[in-house]
């Protein structure tokens, strides 16, 4: 293994936290989706690192599934974004508080 597994995990963690920060901090829907993407990729990194560490190919297979799921998710969410944009004229996440208690 070229790099100690811990470092890979740390790297993935940092990446994940950045994605999370983006989701939490940003107002714009698109940026939130980007944040989600980053988080998913961080997961992918961890998976690949794991498969390299345990010398199993399953990790990589999972990354493929992960990518499939991500693309499905992006497809729908961007469709929603378009829909919301047309309906509400804005993409500010806080404006969509229809579920307010």
């Amino acid at each position: 293994m070229i790099v100690p597994f811990a470092h890979v995990l740390i790297f993935a963690a940092i990446l994940f936290v950045m994605g999370l920060g983006c989701v939490l901090a940003r107002r714009n829907l698109i940026m939130i989706l980007i944040g989600v993407e980053i988080m998913l990729n961080a997961a992918a990194v961890a998976l690949v690192g794991g498969s390299a560490h345990w010398r199993q190919v399953d990790g990589q297979v999972f990354v493929v599934f992960l990518m499939a799921m991500t693309s499905a998710e992006v497809a729908i969410s961007l469709a929603m974004v378009v829909y919301l944009r047309r309906r509400r004229g804005t993409l500010e996440a806080d404006k969509f508080d229809g579920l307010r208690g």
């Binding site: 939490l24 996440a93 806080d94 508080d97 229809g98 579920l99 208690g101």
Partner: protein
């Protein structure tokens, strides 16, 4: 005739009462009235018929068991013996005459059915007290009498004042009943039974402290009903009821129930000297207190009410001095002449057009019917204790009993008795002069007097005058019939030399003459009533009413208010409502959390995630 027929004596008035109450209004008026009078007259006749049953230690009749639970078995039982027989005779006799008088007095009242129903019910309750063999039947009569006096005092209920007087009477006597109930419970705990015979028999076995306690409780119970200190404030206001009621209940029968109770339980009461002293003191003090109040009263019936309170005080003094015969003699004669006085007062009020205030009467002797003046005078002479009248002999016997007791306390009480005798003579003759002598001051013309209100007075006045024969002392060659009849129940043997007896008789006569002279000097030619603070103080019964209101009624209402509003509203409800409000407030805060912004939700999610992470780290570390 077997004993159970004895039950007819009390049950006949009860039957007539129930009949009157249920169907009174539907029956023609005459039928309802005759039904009422016959009920009482019949029981009077039965008492005469059964008179022989009372010889020796009397007969005990049992109708059936009333209560039976655990070890408490209480039957319906009557005891017709030497003590209860004369009392029953007096009650039924006086009641019959008063019923006749009431028919005349209430002839323009349309709610007669209720009146006669209650009056009959009263006679039943009084007979239940008199004939009771066990204390629970006595208690039944005791409360029944209280109920009837409540109903009859508040008979003219349209004026709330009357109803309030009725309520006051019921509540004050009810306080007395509480003490009686306490004694009753204590006796049951001690002896396991409530029958009076058994209690009197086992009385010797009780400890002195228990005896004194019981006697004090019985005394307070008797004070309630007999309007003695400290439970006497209700009697004066009870005059709000119709006059026959005052005559029957608040002169002849109910107020003497307390004395009868003490006489009935005399074997128990006499065993505790402290108890006897207490009874005597209460009697003498009340006699003095009532006599002073009677001096300043303006209404004719209130004077007589305070006079009754005073005379009953004498009876208490007699029981305290150990002479049951003296007490019973005075009780019987007093019942006769006081009933006569009250009925005469009723006639006077009727004549003067419902005028109660004696200051606005006067000159009735010449203008009113001659008979009325003579009857009233006869009653007044008995009340004042003029020599040879019934009142004289019975009161003298009581003073003699007190004097011969010998202890310094009883000498003091004997002195108080003498002073009361003087005051009694004074207020009696004041009454006579103000009503009958001088010029008419208030009323314009005299109403006519129905026949029925005239002739029932005579028998009672005569019985009052001849009351002395009941227990004529040996001094004047009398056979002391009542004391011999009572036998064992008669209490202490009054041993006194003839010299002291003559001296006391002379002293009493002197006091009466003194009283009469003073009254003649002051009131023959009426020069207006003194209106100084002293007389006002006496008028309001030494401010007793105000004191009771201040010390008892107002604090009670305050505490009740505290309970009702304070504890229930503020404390219990508030805590519950507070609880409810807190939960809604928490709900509100939680609601604000769901702000609809995605970011807050995600933040929540992250916090949760961190906590789980922290938990695992902790688990890892430990």
């Amino acid at each position: 005739m077997n004993q159970t027929l004895l039950f007819l004596i009390p049950l006949l008035p009860l039957a007539c009462a129930v009949a009157n109450m249920l169907f009174g209004m539907r029956l023609p008026r005459l039928f309802a009235e005759t039904l009422a009078v016959c009920g009482v007259a019949a029981s009077f006749l039965l008492t005469v018929l059964f008179w022989s049953y009372a010889d020796g230690d009397g007969t005990r009749a049992v109708l059936g068991t009333w209560l039976a639970a655990g070890e408490a078995t209480i039957p319906f039982a009557l005891q017709f013996d030497a003590l209860s027989a004369p009392m029953t005779l007096m009650v039924t006799g006086v009641a019959t005459l008063i019923h006749l008088y009431a028919v005349g007095y209430m002839h323009e009242e349309e709610d007669y059915a209720r009146f006669f129903g209650l009056l009959n019910l009263f006679v039943f309750a009084m007979l239940a007290i008199v004939l009771a063999d066990n204390l629970l039947v006595l208690f039944l009569g005791w409360e029944g009498v209280g109920l009837c006096s409540y109903g009859l005092i508040g008979f003219w209920y349209q004026k709330t004042g009357n109803a309030r007087a009725g309520t006051k009477a019921f509540l004050v006597t009810r306080v007395g009943d509480v003490f009686l109930a306490a004694a009753l419970l204590w006796l049951f705990a001690l002896t396991g039974t409530l029958s009076i015979g058994a209690i009197n028999a086992q009385a010797a076995g009780f400890a002195p402290a228990v005896l004194t306690g019981l006697t004090v409780l019985l005394l307070l119970g008797a004070c309630g009903k007999s309007a003695q200190l400290p439970l006497m404030t209700w009697l004066a206001d009870a005059m709000a009821g119709p006059t026959p009621v005052s005559a029957l209940i608040h002169a002849a029968t109910m107020v003497t129930a307390g004395v009868y109770l003490l006489c009935r339980l005399f074997p128990l009461v006499s065993l505790s000297p402290a108890g006897m002293a207490a009874i005597a003191v209460v009697g003498a003090v009340t006699a003095l207190y009532a006599a002073t109040c009677a001096l300043a009263q303006r209404e004719i019936k209130r004077v007589l009410a305070y006079s009754t309170m005073s005379q009953v005080g004498y009876m208490f003094l007699a029981v305290g001095a150990g002479s049951v015969a003296g007490a019973m003699a005075h009780l019987l004669t007093h019942a006769f002449f006081k009933a006569a006085l009250f009925m005469a007062a009723g006639c006077i009020i009727h004549l003067a057009g419902d005028e109660n205030d004696i200051l606005r009467m006067g000159g009735l002797a010449r203008r009113g019917p001659r008979q009325l003046f003579l009857v009233f005078l006869a009653g007044a002479l008995c009340l004042a204790g003029a020599p040879l009248t019934g009142g004289f002999f019975s009161k003298d016997a009581i003073l003699l009993a007190a004097y011969t007791q010998g202890t310094p306390l009883f000498l003091l009480l004997w002195g108080a008795g003498l002073l009361t005798a003087l005051l009694t003579a004074l207020y009696t003759f004041r009454l006579v002069y103000l009503v009958f002598a001088g010029e008419p001051r208030g009323y314009s013309h005299l109403h006519d007097l129905p026949q029925l209100m005239r002739w029932p007075l005579w028998p009672l006045a005569l019985l009052g005058l001849l009351g002395g024969l009941l227990n004529l002392p040996a001094l004047v060659g009398g056979g002391e019939w009542l004391r011999h009849r009572l036998g064992a129940l008669a209490g202490r043997e009054i041993a006194a030399t003839h010299g002291t007896e003559w001296a006391l008789a002379g002293l009493a006569t002197g006091l009466v003459l003194l009283g009469w002279g003073a009254a003649r000097w002051r009131y023959a030619r009426f020069r207006g009533e003194w209106d100084n603070p002293g007389s006002r103080f006496l008028l309001h019964g030494w401010g007793a009413d105000a004191a009771v209101d201040l010390l008892v009624v107002r604090p009670f209402t305050a505490i009740a208010g505290l309970c009702a509003l304070g504890i229930d509203r503020a404390l219990v409800d508030a805590t519950l409502d507070g609880l409810a409000r807190q939960t809604t407030a928490c709900g509100e805060r939680l609601r604000r959390l769901t702000s609809g912004h995605v970011s807050t939700y995600l933040a929540g999610f992250i916090w949760g995630f961190l906590i789980i992470l922290g938990w695992f780290l902790l688990a890892l570390v430990r």
